[in-house]
Every structure is written in structure tokens, then in C-alpha cells.
């Protein structure tokens, strides 16, 4: 199924995206230090696919998502959507694009205004974009949307705290969908949910994708969830993508040492499957300050001398499988 989706031109092209945060030091006289949340991410996103993004906490997954929907402006790089570079658009010029790029946040509760009823929350984007001025029709649109995500008329006038976690996430999804977007960035949308509710929401995402031909960027740190939902997977480490390939491929044939370690850390599916743990020793390096060489160099079991001098580029190592590791390509590195 992946092949079919990947055909054609990408809907979004991310080119060498960088995001730095200035960290002001608490000591006198020290210049502010730079936190590289994203250090050169390049990705293509194809119409109708789900791109899973996995990585340790703090590796820049959310930052990537926020840059995509222009919640934060990246420091450098381009995000091409339908040929337009979003990073160069002014806020007002962005407004029509916003309609097509939506986001669902991790915490279904805190991303809903506690003082807005379901109806008010879902119709807000319609009002903002002036899509439906007639309040009766708007109500119908909202109701249709609610039904779409498996809620009903009795839920319309309730407040967020009166819903279960799964229901809240459904409201979030409905709110994102009501603008009929093309791309939805899902930032850990099921991490806060219970397994059985998680299953409900995941099912909802799949069925909506089919019906509306949506494109997802699905961020999570749960590998089994990513495997279930994604067509392709990007593994991130310390602000860069270190491996990118089809979802099945990554589990069957992980190439990057970090991916291997990540996979081996997953708790087993059954008591009888005692996996060999591949642990990375040492602490995760800090994203603050400039880093020379491969970010994993300090913890990598297969490190080579070159690793601590140059940063490997994300390079195709087999058809549809890219990795950023000198084990597979010696020459390609990122110019700092």
C-alpha cells in the first residue's frame, strides 16, 4: 500500500530545517547559548500517507511539528507547501494555509479551552475563517463533524471536563477536521490515553484518513503505535533524522545503531519473548551548544574515529531506506 501513496510529488517538502533557541545564561557576562532543537531536517511528505516520527524525549519532535504548522518560525530552512515557502509568509498570508494544515496535541484536556462547550470549540475555526456565517447551518456542520468522530448531539453542550480522555481527543480531532485540512500534525495524540481508549482513537485516525485522504505526521514515542499507524517512519535523535524508511522495514531491518537500541528497549509482546537488550551507555548529550560529529558518537557501540569528527548525512542506503550513519556511507557528511 505504501508504494501507491508515495507516487507523485510530495505535498510538503522540508528542506534543511533548523530551529535554534537562545538560552540566556544565568551567569553574568556569559553570552547566551544556543539550543539546537532542530539541526537540519529534510523530509518529504506525500499525499495520503502517514509519516511516523519517533525519538527520545527532547529530540525535537514537537518542534518539527510546530514548525510545520508555523507555530514557531524556524531559524533556517524551507517548508514548501504547494510550492509556497511557509516560512517566508506573513501571518496574514498564512491564514488561508492554516486551514489546510492542522494539528492535534498530546494532551487532549489542556488543548481544549475549559470554558468552551464542544460546540463552541468546534465551531470556533469556522467563525475565525468566516466559513459558515449562518449559526443554524454552523450547528449542523458541527453536528456532522461530531458524528464523524463518533460523538453525538448530546455531547454538543458539554464542557471538556465532562468527557473522558478518548472523547476529548475526539473533540480535538473534530476541531482540526472541521476546516477540511489536507495535512494534520498529530503530536503524541494517544500518549496520554489508556490502552483501550488509545485503540479507539487510533482506529478513528485510520478511518478518517481513508475517508478524507488525509496526510498525517504522527509523532509518538511508542514504537508499537507508530508501527500500527504509519506508512513510513522517521527516527529522530537530538534534532536530526537518523533513519527514514518504510514502517515494516524499520522493525525488520533497522540499520542505525540508535534505532536498534530503541527497538531492543521495547517491552516484549509476550512473556516468552526475552529480547536481548542493547543498552546505550552514557547520558544523552545536551542539545545546548555546538556539537561536533555524530550526535550518537558518545554512546554508540559501533563508534568509529570519524564519528566524533564529522556528522553523517541522511543518505539512501537501500531503495526507500535512508540512514545517517558512517557504517553505511563513509563520505557523505553535513557541512557545518
Amino acid at each position: 500500500m505504501t508504494e501507491g501513496k508515495m507516487a507523485g510529488t510530495p505535498i510538503i517538502r522540508i528542506k534543511n530545517l533548523k530551529k535554534d533557541y537562545k538560552i540566556r545564561s544565568s551567569k553574568l557576562g556569559q553570552p547566551p547559548r544556543v539550543l539546537h532543537a532542530l539541526s537540519g531536517v529534510s523530509l518529504d511528505l506525500f499525499q495520503g500517507e502517514t509519516l511516523g516520527v519517533i525519538g527520545e524525549s527532547g529530540c525535537g519532535k514537537s518542534t518539527l511539528g510546530k514548525c510545520l504548522v508555523q507555530l514557531t518560525r524556524p531559524t533556517a530552512g524551507e517548508i514548501l507547501y504547494n510550492g509556497q515557502n511557509l516560512c517566508a509568509l506573513s501571518n496574514s498570508a498564512l491564514k488561508p494555509v492554516r486551514k489546510e494544515l492542522q494539528m492535534v496535541f498530546q494532551d487532549p484536556y489542556s488543548s481544549l479551552d475549559p470554558r468552551f462547550t464542544t460546540k463552541a470549540a468546534i465551531e470556533e475555526p469556522l467563525i475565525i475563517h468566516g466559513l459558515e456565517r449562518d449559526s443554524k447551518k454552523r450547528r449542523e456542520t458541527v453536528l456532522a463533524m461530531l458524528r464523524e468522530v463518533g460523538l453525538d448531539v448530546q455531547h454538543m453542550d458539554r464542557y471538556p471536563h465532562e468527557f473522558s480522555g478518548g472523547q476529548r481527543q475526539r473533540i480535538n480531532v473534530a476541531r482540526a477536521l472541521v476546516l477540511q485540512p489536507k495535512v494534520i500534525v498529530c503530536d503524541e495524540p494517544v500518549s496520554a490515553l489508556d490502552v483501550s481508549v488509545q485503540a479507539q482513537v487510533l482506529n478513528l485516525f485510520s478511518s478518517l484518513q481513508k475517508r478524507h485522504n488525509l496526510t498525517y505526521i504522527f509523532i509518538s514515542h511508542d514504537l508499537s503505535v507508530i508501527k500500527h499507524i504509519s506508512d513510513r517512519v522517521a527516527i529522530m535523535y537530538l534534532g536530526t533524522v537518523v533513519e527514514l524508511c518504510d514502517a515494516d522495514e524499520i522493525y525488520q531491518n533497522p540499520r542505525h545503531p540508535y534505532t536498534k537500541a530503541l527497538l531492543s528497549a521495547i517491552p516484549p509482546d509476550s512473556p516468552f519473548e526475552k529480547s536481548q537488550k542493547l543498552t546505550l551507555s552514557g547520558e544523552i548529550p545536551s542539545p545546548i551548544g555546538d556539537l561536533v560529529g555524530c550526535p550518537l558518537a558518545g554512546r554508540c557501540p559501533e563508534r568509529m574515529p570519524v564519528c566524533s569528527q564529522k556528522r553523517p548525512a541522511l543518505k539512501e542506503i537501500s531503495p526507500g531506506h535512508r540512514a545517517a550513519c558512517f557504517l553505511y556511507h563513509q563520505e557523505e557528511y553535513v557541512e557545518e
Binding site: 540566556r24 544565568s26 551567569k27 553574568l28
Partner: protein, 320 residues
């Protein structure tokens, strides 16, 4: 730390500029002619005009303002017209007297108010809680003059324990000073005590529900330590802010108390300055309080650093 201090000191400049301008404009907007007030009812218009000239009040506003600003930048706060003395020396002369009672009452208020607040929070909705919180409200809403005069009637006139008024002096022994201080200090202590008790209570109530406090109990830490060491330290930030604000306003808040007890401090100075339209003195006093205010805020921020290691003092969020 040092940077915070420096930054706050730099911030002092705009605040002081605002205060100077504000006082200047506001004091000039008060109707009434200082010269007329100074000379009293029997003065003739010619006398008043002459006096005005002498005081430099007939110069254009802008010129007066510029003069005042240049004066201040050279450390000259101007001259009080009613006292006929430099404002700065007047203020510095009064400050110790005010400090003497305000600091004492602040310290007392902290040592009485905070424990009451803690007990009230720990025993929320108990009789203790209700009684002390109502007492606290009584404390806040008690007219100071009433309290002051009642205290005098009972403790000075009837019992003869404390002095009626005045400051006393060390020449007559330490006890004389204490005797004079007791009643004004009690008057000044009621409101802050009540405020501290209430703030402590509400802050504690928020803290005692925290996971980290529950975790301490789960570890078998003694309840007294949980409350008085951990919860209290966690509950301190809003309290410190309020203490800071109370302290800063205590310098002027003592107006009523100081006039009742003829306590020669800042409060009395401001009181007479306002009624005499002593522009330079009002401006100087307010400016001085503003400086104190900024410094107290600075100290509050520094205390924050000590009591709350998480505080992001670069974030610029207001503290008070």
C-alpha cells in the same frame, strides 16, 4: 545573581523616571498655592505673589520640571518649603524612626501571622481555622485610630504600662524606648499579621495537596517536618512577595499611626507635606519610597532564588 541585581538596578531608572514625572505632574495638579498656605489667612495677595517668586513657583512648568530632574541627577532632591531644609536630609532624618517601628512590626507580623496561617491551613475548616481567620479579618478591618486610642486608654492611662506617645530616647534607658514603641508597633502589626496569616493559609492549602507532599508522607517523614519544613518552604513565594509589598508600603502606611502617636517618621512627614503643598517634599518622599519599593522587590527576587531554585529570574515575569 549578580546579573539580576544589576538588571534590577538598571530597571530602577525607568521606574524612578515614571515616579518623578508622575509626582511632579500630580503635585502640580493639586489646586492651591503653597505660598498662600505657607503665609496663612492674613497674607495679602502681594505677599503671596512675592513668596511665590521666592519659591520659584512662577517659573514655567517645564522649567521647574527640568530643574527638578537635573537636581535629582545630582543628588539634590530640592528644598522643602515648609521646613526650609533640604528634602534629602529631612527624609534621612525620619527614616530611622519609621524603620524602628515598621521593621519591628513586620518581624512580629511574620512570626505571628505565618504560624497562624500554617495552623489554619493544616486544620482547615476547624474551629481554630475559623476563629483565627475571622480574627484576621477583624484585624484588617479595624480602624487604626480606634485601636490606637483604645490601646492608649487601657495600657497607658489605666494601667500605665506603656507611654502614650512620642519616641522615648535611649538616654532614658532601653526600657523607655520599648515603652514608647509598644503601642504604635501593635497598631502597625495588626494589618500585616492578618494579611500574612491569610496569604500563608491559602498558599499552604495549595501546597499541601501537592504530589510531592504526599510523597513525603509516603516516605514516613514526620508530619511536623512535612508541614513546617517542606510545605512551608514550598508555600513561601507568594508570602515573600506580600511581605515585600507590605514592607514597602509600611513606610507610608504608618501615616495614621505616626500621627496618633506623634511618632516623628516618614508617615508624619508625608502627611504634613501633602497638607502644606510642599511639592519638593512630596516628590522626594514618594521617590524615596519608590526606591525602597524597587529595592525590596529586588531583595524579594533574591530571596526567591534562595527559596525556590526553579525560579527563572531571566524570564522577566513580575514577581509581586
Amino acid at each position: 545573581m549578580l546579573k539580576t541585581i544589576l538588571k534590577r538596578l538598571v530597571q530602577l531608572v525607568p521606574i524612578l523616571f515614571v515616579v518623578i514625572t508622575l509626582t511632579f505632574v500630580l503635585t502640580r495638579m493639586i489646586p492651591g498655592n503653597p505660598a498662600a498656605i505657607l503665609l496663612g489667612p492674613q497674607a495679602s495677595p502681594a505677599d503671596i505673589a512675592r513668596m511665590q517668586e521666592e519659591l520659584g513657583l512662577n517659573k514655567p512648568m517645564l522649567e521647574q520640571y527640568v530643574n527638578y530632574l537635573t537636581g535629582i541627577s545630582q543628588g539634590d532632591f530640592g528644598k522643602s518649603i515648609s521646613y526650609n531644609r533640604p528634602v534629602l536630609s529631612l527624609i534621612l532624618e525620619r527614616l530611622p524612626a519609621t524603620l524602628q517601628i515598621t521593621l519591628t512590626s513586620m518581624v512580629l507580623a511574620v512570626f505571628i501571622g505565618v504560624p497562624i496561617g500554617v495552623f489554619s491551613a493544616v486544620k482547615q475548616y476547624s474551629a481554630f481555622d475559623y476563629i483565627f481567620m475571622i480574627l484576621a479579618l477583624v484585624g484588617v478591618s479595624m480602624p487604626i485610630f480606634w485601636l490606637g486610642l483604645m490601646l492608649v486608654l487601657v495600657f497607658s492611662v489605666k494601667l500605665g504600662w506603656f507611654a502614650v506617645l512620642g519616641m522615648g530616647s535611649l538616654q532614658n534607658g532601653f526600657w523607655d524606648v520599648v515603652q514608647h514603641m509598644v503601642l504604635p508597633v501593635v497598631c502597625l502589626t495588626t494589618i500585616p499579621t492578618a494579611t500574612f496569616a491569610r496569604i500563608t493559609r491559602s498558599s499552604m492549602l495549595e501546597v499541601v495537596n501537592k504530589e510531592s507532599i504526599k510523597a513525603l508522607r509516603a516516605r514516613g517523614i514526620r508530619e511536623s517536618l512535612v508541614i513546617w519544613k517542606h510545605a512551608l518552604k514550598n508555600a513561601l513565594p507568594p508570602l515573600v512577595t506580600v511581605i515585600g509589598m507590605q514592607l514597602a508600603s509600611a513606610f507610608s502606611g504608618a501615616i495614621l499611626t505616626e500621627t496618633i502617636f506623634s511618632w516623628p517618621g516618614m508617615g508624619m512627614l508625608i502627611y504634613s507635606a501633602v497638607f502644606n503643598r510642599d511639592y519638593a517634599l512630596i516628590q522626594g518622599a514618594v521617590l524615596f519610597i519608590a526606591i525602597i519599593f524597587v529595592f525590596v522587590n529586588l531583595i524579594v527576587d533574591l530571596i526567591y532564588l534562595v527559596i525556590n531554585p526553579r525560579v527563572n529570574y531571566e524570564g522577566g515575569g513580575g514577581t509581586a
